[in-house]
Symmetry: C4
């Protein structure tokens, strides 16, 4: 079956990744001008492969026990499933350029979504489950952190607006403009398009930047602890809880925690 | 009761968040000019809702067991409580523009403080308790880290001042100016308005930037370990407190720390 | 005794911190010009207090059991101890301006070193011990991380030099110049004075930036795990290892890990 | 034996590090011009030492039990081993400038690779093993994180391209250009060469920057938990393997996972 051959899986995924990469690099001037023919050929090749794959998936979908019903119903179900639709959307625009006269790149970017199929591979779906499980468990604390950060951003940008507005009436034209500075500082991105010029503004900025370290440390600490708890819990479930003393046959709790 | 209906709670919080967002975006040129009427309508709508809510809260505050006394005293107590005052301040200026002739945005920003009411919701107040508990427990270590960082900042900015002052007399006009560079580098914000030009300055800057990674790692490690300890402790309290003595089968309290 | 009165301790430390802050802000133009008299008065006041404190410390040092010998030897020992010398250096230049004709700010910055006395306070010296203990334990792993980062920096800056040298002969004039870019990118500081312009350079830069996240994650993970181990170890030592079954009096290992 | 004398080892490693540093700083204008003779002398000195060391290593390689065979075969094996070849490449170009007429810096940079020999020292090879063991164990989760980040980068740069293209046709000329912005924002590097100007673009940028904090927190959490698990596991192996059955007093292997 097409889903299970590791070589074919690797080939299809590589092709998806290459499609995304080609989309990113082809529009750099020079690259596009010199290799436009290569990109067109690659596009045709990709769509052909994706089409063959789609048809094979459609054909073999009646072997899939996930879909119930007779073989026609099964294929209809595959075609209307999320992944089936994504696969269709990824190839359709190539065949119907006259129906979709607008910019095709938007459609081609949808091929990125095909990457999501990677989560169907057992190995990665387990990792994703671990990660999303941890994020779900820590949701309340993380929302809280973002929330406190938001209040801090609003208050500091309000302060900064009143401090810097006189000196830089353009960069700090409103609290909204100051908010842009506050986000760039608290997340330690620091583009450098907006920064304080007054002594007071620099002191406030320094404080926000140092507090920003804390706002990196907090979610990291929250997520770390959840990962550790998860790991221990998983191990616990796998491991034996009790061992039998081979001499007197009584049960001893191996791990009292 | 108004406090308990989840739909009303969601509506009120959404309205507060929207008020803060409108405050942030409305002053972007273009947005304000094209939609000024919409913003005025939204302002009127918000204040009406907040007023109704305030009056209802005032009226129902005699049902609140937190405030003791007869129904008039109870309402007075609500009106003079922190959250009651914040609610009042958030709506009052709209009705008394002639009393507060100064810039109203400062008052409107106080509506952000209404967001603090979220902490009264049971679910989030627990998260906040966990986070603040962790921060309190690690206070000494965190203060220590900030303290060592401060000494490092002062020493490195002094050094940098003597290294760069000759080449960039404006950017490194004083140790105070160099301090601004030091903060931006150690917190990895890196606005890019001040950076060393000499070889020696760049080497010092590289060292500070690398040490800066350590000053992200330290508080994160401190906070992580406290979260993990908290999690384990909480679990312990929930979990079995007793173990069975394998010899005589009586129950023993496992955890008498 | 002067060392033990919490009020005096707080006053002295506040004065040291204020001295450092005044050093940082006084050279901002405008601040200095308008308040120069205030700064001079504050300087005189600080030095007076520090002098009195130094003399008192010198005088009472014969009560200190740490120093052995008769009262003259004890005072000599205090005067020649590291903290004693720092205290002396912090006040001496004020009285001997004709002996030290060079820039006095260098001496005044040494007052920062007096902040180190905070580590003598029991509470903070414990925190510092925890932190430095953790750093010592993870020294090998941290050195290793810096080492691998260094190799990565050298290799990536060599690559970048050959990629960008043609387009930006000034910014990437040598491998040394490219190294400056590499440090700013790997530590995610990103001043923005040097960045790649070619497509290839941008791809390399993106890879280094993403790897840079890993070089934040690694030391954090190392330090976190050491903190957790420390916390557990400290608790273990405090807690009882064995409990006596109150019925049959046999010892049970409470915590087998 | 040359490998075991700590003083010689320290001297050789210092020399390698100094070679790398000299390579980085010597091309800074001013430094090179004023000290070119010093750099040439240092180069000659380094190559002499490295040559002597190489010959000694070659000579004594028949004492090395790792290589099997008679003493000629052993030396041949050393000469063709990876580290042997690196050592040879590091000195060869100095003697054969007429054979390698191209830029010698590329060869000299290879001396960096000699730093890899540090991993042969027992102490650091253990640290490296710990780190690489942790990275291997968390490989799936880390790949997953990079993968999700990649999808996020593609989607956000596509969005940003459509938002900013009209206002900044040069900076956001293609999805590829927007991708450069997305990487700089998500990794919090923030060079500041490309940033959004529209209100919508700034809001998207703020969201990506905040999400970027999460993409620092995730790998950190993953790596932290793996380090902690490793530490505990290592301790377990060292610690007591047996517990005494409290009933019949025989020893039981506690850990048979």
């Amino acid at each position: 079956m097409i889903n299970n051959n590791p070589l074919i899986i690797k080939f299809i995924y590589s092709l998806i990744v290459l499609n995304v990469i080609s989309l990113i690099i082809e529009y750099y001037k020079g690259i596009h001008d010199n290799y436009s023919e290569f990109f067109q050929l690659f596009e045709m090749f990709s769509v052909s492969i994706f089409t063959i794959e789609y048809l094979l998936r459609l054909w073999t979908s009646d072997l899939n026990n996930k879909f119930k019903g007779n073989f026609i119903v099964k294929r209809m179900k595959f075609a209307s499933s999320t992944l089936g639709l994504i696969d269709l959307i990824a190839i359709l625009p190539f065949y119907l350029p006259f129906i979709f006269p607008f910019d095709l790149r938007i459609i081609r970017i949808l091929r990125t979504l095909r990457l999501l199929r990677i989560f169907k591979l057992n190995r990665y779906s387990k990792s994703l489950k671990t990660i999303s499980g941890v994020l779900k468990e820590t949701k309340d604390e993380l929302i809280m952190t973002v929330f406190v950060a938001f209040i801090l951003l609003v208050l500091s940008s309000t302060l900064m607006y009143y401090i810097e507005n006189d000196v830089q009436p353009e960069n700090f034209a409103s609290i909204g403009h100051a908010f842009w500075w506050a986000v760039a500082t608290l997340t330690t991105v620091g583009y450098g398009d907006v920064y304080p010029l007054t002594a007071l503004g620099k002191i406030l900025s320094a404080i926000i930047a140092i507090v920003g370290i804390g706002f990196i440390a907090l979610p990291t600490g929250i997520i770390s602890s959840a990962f550790i708890e998860k790991l221990r819990h998983d191990k616990h479930k796998k491991g034996k809880q009790f061992i039998i003393c081979p001499n007197c046959q009584i049960e001893i709790n191996k791990d009292n925690r």
